[in-house]
């Protein structure tokens, strides 16, 4: 009894496709985010706002209570982690979700708020493989699954819309485009 290769091919394409649907979405979203890494921070939403404080309220040594009052006056409702003076001119206050940097002589500075970019932070975390755990194996299996999906996809259809008559042209164009970019830019 021989193996029905076409039936096996289509079954693999279908079931591997179903199984890895989620992974495709994760890696596609993360890929878009990383592709535009020069335009945005793919993991964090960062906002910078200029602030000004009366210099008289600042000094080269300030207590936690004084810093807390300063935050209230600036309407900063984030909890303070720590404050310190990186140099004789600067006060830095670390907040949960940001930081305030002030020139203690002029009173000028900026408030930076940092928050994780929803969804993208999580998909990037997986794509970068920061877990360094069983995830490494699963994502390697996914890579193998993608190759399997690509190969089996060539043979799902038969006839005039199959690989031999129509598909081959799309495949060739799809390979030529990245080769062209390599030729131009590499």
């Amino acid at each position: 009894m021989g193996i029905n290769w076409r039936k096996l091919n289509n079954a693999l394409h279908r079931d591997v496709g179903y199984f890895f649907f989620g992974m495709f979405i994760i890696y596609a979203l993360s890929g878009i985010a990383l592709n535009h890494i020069d335009d945005w921070d793919p993991n964090y939403i960062i906002d910078n706002k200029r602030v000004t404080v009366e210099p008289a309220k600042l000094g080269p040594s300030m207590s936690a209570a004084q810093v807390a009052r300063l935050m209230e006056e600036l309407n900063v409702n984030k909890k303070i982690k720590k404050h310190y003076f990186p140099n004789s001119r600067t006060l830095k206050v670390f907040l949960h979700g940001g930081a305030l940097t002030l020139n203690i002589r002029t009173g000028h500075g900026f408030l930076e708020t940092v928050g994780r970019r929803p969804l993208f932070y999580e998909v990037n975390y997986l794509h970068y493989n920061h877990t360094k755990s069983l995830w490494t194996w699963f994502s390697d299996i996914f890579a193998g699954g993608m190759i399997l999906l690509a190969a089996t996809g060539l043979f799902v259809l038969r006839g005039k819309k199959g690989f031999k008559k129509r598909g081959i042209w799309f495949v060739l164009i799809g390979i030529l485009i990245p080769l062209l970019f390599l030729f131009i830019y590499l």
């Binding site: 079954a11 693999l12 936690a64 909890k79 720590k82 940092v114 360094k132």
Partner: protein
Amino acid sequence: MKLNFSVLALLFFIGCTGNSNRATEAENRQAASEELNEMDVVGLLANADTYDGREVLLKGTVVHVCKHSGKRLHLMGADDKTRIRIEAGKIGQFGRELEGSTIVAKGIFRRQVIDEEYLAKWEGELKKEGGKHQKSRDGREEERGKMRRYREMMKERDGGQIEQYWIDGISFDPVDEEPAM
């Protein structure tokens, strides 16, 4: 259908068994780290010779996380001045949320003495053709720029040498502390 899922199940099994050795290694590291004493950055750098190449446990405040890659952070000691760089290494990446947090980091302490002999050797490697770290023209220029800056720094120091310190990170844990206010 049965064949497809059998293949997938087999692949998962291979992945799971491959991970069991890593779990044992992690347990051994945990046991070893329990023997290390927590140190402050100031204390570590004051005894740099003693700890060079050794595993250390360091507690401090994160004052900077590399914004571009998250591959390194700067840890500040209790004096609010002394800092040391920690490379993410096996940790992978440091999150920006760590800035301002107190952490206990485990890693290997590294010390590099930069003197004229070191720079001459570096220059020699750069000139070699077909060297292991073949660099582009821009890359070589950048490295020569670093060498020039080191030489300028060395002129300002007694003894004509600079010492660089960093930690190759292995793991870290945030310390739960009460907020300042």
